[in-house]
């Protein structure tokens, strides 16, 4: 800022000097021409009269008429150059400003050399005044810049201190703290906005994890209390029943662990923390493997499981996760459609359908079954964690696939579209 003002002033100063020199040159030149002309047109006496009558405001003229000096100056300085070359020389006057600086040079006329000079010290004082005014202006801008800079940095510092204080609050566990936004919409507000967005996401994740841990705690309580009861009873059991009792408790414990693991992986998949091991997969191959694994189970339930492959389709996906999701759906169909049911797996292009002719799911529950720990079978007599369909949905949504449940009249149609 100061530098710019300084540069402007300097340019102005240069212009002023150039202008002054130009004016001096101009006036000296015009005077030169005037007296050369005069010398040619008038005689010596009127020439002297003209010189005597010359206006000292325009130019100071001096001419040596034989011995006497004629004109505004009482002497002729030595070594004066011929115009347009000029030289500065000092003169003494009787007035208040005793010493003056004149600029001038000689011009040759018919009647001998004439000194033509002009006062430049007025301009010089003007320039001096200009320089001091400019210096004051520059100083003033420096002072103002420093003052404003100080105030401005104070304001910035105050906001930083505020941000710091708020982040300390967050550190202490007040996760609902947000940084304030001002009306300025400056860089600080952008920073605060971004910071607040991050905090929103973190808070949501935190709540999700809290929800999951609450659910885990809740769902583990029942099997854990069974184990506790079992352990108490074990002490009073006859010795030949102890090993059987231990085995039952071990199974209960394994079920707890499985629920726990399922909860954790569900959360990780839902929150996108688990990286998918992507590879090109053939849906037809997945469905063939599905039949291969599920066939014997269906057979033991006296159900018929059939597979129709219409046209293959390739997707990029995590083989194990997708297979797990598909198996889960087929497993559900086998579990809930009852003895003698008919289950079909139909793969056609990007679509896989699993149809059964069991009891189906009532319309008002079709969305609810995807929620965590929702089990439509209130007695929960079939083994399961209540997380299967939540897991299916999470896996499919990570693969950008859609799942819909519709009626098969009777039964359920699960449609997955990639």
């Amino acid at each position: 800022m100061t530098v710019i003002i300084g540069a402007l002033l300097f340019t102005l100063y240069r212009q002023l000097i150039i202008e002054q020199q130009y004016q001096v040159t101009q006036s000296l030149e015009s005077e030169t021409q005037r007296y050369q002309q005069l010398a040619l047109t008038v005689d010596r006496r009127s020439f002297a009269a003209q010189i005597r009558a010359a206006d000292p405001q325009t130019a100071l003229i001096a001419w040596r008429d034989s011995y006497d000096m004629v004109g505004a100056l009482s002497f002729m300085p030595e070594d004066m150059p011929m115009l347009p070359q000029t030289r500065d020389f000092p003169i003494l006057t009787g007035g208040p400003d005793k010493l003056h600086i004149l600029t001038g040079g000689l011009v040759m006329t018919r009647y001998g050399p004439v000194l033509i000079a002009t006062r430049t010290d007025n301009l010089a004082t003007l320039i001096d005044k200009f320089i001091s005014a400019a210096a004051t202006a520059v100083m003033l801008t420096i002072v103002l810049t420093l003052a404003f800079g100080y105030l401005f940095s104070k304001a910035i510092l105050r906001r930083l201190v505020q941000y710091n204080r708020l982040s300390e609050q967050i550190e202490r566990g007040h996760y609902n703290t947000r940084l304030p936004l001002s009306w300025r919409q400056d860089e600080f507000d952008m920073l605060a906005l971004q910071f607040n967005n991050v905090l929103d996401i973190l808070e949501n994740n935190l709540l999700a994890v809290r929800g999951a841990t609450d659910n885990i705690a809740h769902d583990l309580r029942t099997p854990l209390s069974h184990i506790r009861i079992g352990l108490e009873e074990l002490a009073s059991k006859p010795s030949d029943e102890i090993s059987e009792g231990c085995a039952i408790l071990t199974e209960e414990l394994d079920h707890c662990l499985a629920t726990f693991d399922a909860m954790l992986s569900l959360t990780r998949i839902e929150e996108g923390q688990q990286t998918l091991d992507l590879q090109e997969l053939s849906l037809a191959q997945l469905c063939t493997d599905l039949l291969d694994m599920a066939d014997a189970v269906a057979e033991s339930n006296e159900q018929t499981l059939s597979l129709s492959l219409l046209s293959d389709y390739k997707v990029f996906g995590d083989k194990y996760l997708l297979f797990q999701a598909l198996y889960n759906l087929v497993d559900n169909a086998m579990k809930y459609s009852g003895q003698g049911a008919r289950i079909e797996i139909i793969q056609s292009g990007p679509q896989i359908q699993i149809r059964d002719n069991g009891p189906g799911i009532p319309d008002d529950s079709k969305e609810r079954v995807f929620e965590r720990l929702v089990r439509l079978d209130p007695s929960r007599h079939l083994q399961g964690t209540g997380l299967g369909l939540s897991m299916v949905k999470a896996i499919l949504s990570r693969h950008n696939a859609k799942i819909t449940l519709t009626d098969n009249h009777p039964g359920l149609v699960v449609t997955i579209t990639f």
Partner: protein
């Protein structure tokens, strides 16, 4: 066989040491990472069982340091870090197998023995014999008391695995891994269904008791004496 166990939990140490001693193995223990590394590099072991979260030196760092010295002793990682990503990390660091806590000793034993026998030149077996049960691997012919058993491919694979580990309790997870390429805990009765089919075929020949269900653990193929 000489085993090194690097583990800092006393209860787990006792459980594992007792198990391997009963099986006739020689086992030494280290309770922190530094001790574990110095033991593993200074003497020769057939297997290292390695915990991950150890005092002083993390299990994976220990493993990396061990592998950096050119030591190729099989390492079985035994960790409470159960997630797939962690498993991948462990195997990438040079682990040969990865088991998660809590675990059943029977499964640890099967996995440990598999790793310990890996380097040895196994005599090429074409036949498996467990009591009166015979399996010809080339012709896939299975006989019980001289009578032929007709098995589905999956049943054949299951029985083969059980015969290779006769008299050992085999968990459902191990059986699942042996038969299917997909690794996940199915939480279903897939294995039970196949075992039931196998057992029914045994029953038809009067030997249903050969495949024993061990509640809370898995299955065991019994060798009749």
């Amino acid at each position: 066989m000489k085993i090194l166990l690097v583990e800092d939990d006393a209860t787990t140490i006792d459980y594992i040491v007792k198990g391997f001693l009963e099986q006739g193995h020689n086992i030494e223990t280290a309770s922190d990472g530094h001790q574990g590394l110095s033991l593993a590099t200074s003497s020769q072991y057939d297997l290292v069982i390695l915990d991950r979260m150890l005092p002083q030196l993390d299990g994976l760092k220990l493993l990396a340091a061990l592998r950096a010295t050119g030591n190729q002793t099989p390492v079985l990682i035994l960790s409470a870090l159960a997630h797939v990503d962690e498993r991948v990390k462990g195997l990438r660091a040079g682990g040969d197998d990865y088991m998660t806590k809590p675990f059943a000793f029977s499964e640890l034993l099967v996995r440990a023995e598999k790793l310990m026998h890996r380097g040895q030149s196994v005599p090429v077996t074409t036949d498996l014999v467990v009591g009166s049960l015979k399996m010809e691997l080339l012709t896939r012919n299975v006989t019980l008391d001289g009578q032929e058993l007709l098995l589905q491919p999956k049943e054949f694979q299951l029985l083969k695995y059980l015969m290779e580990h006769a008299n050992q309790v085999i968990s459902r997870t191990l059986l699942f891994e042996a038969v299917w390429d997909y690794h996940f805990d199915p939480r279903t009765n897939v294995i039970d269904v196949h075992i039931a089919k196998l057992r029914r075929k045994f029953e038809e020949l009067g030997h249903g008791e050969l495949i024993e269900t061990v509640r809370g653990a898995g299955y065991r193929l019994r060798q009749r004496h």
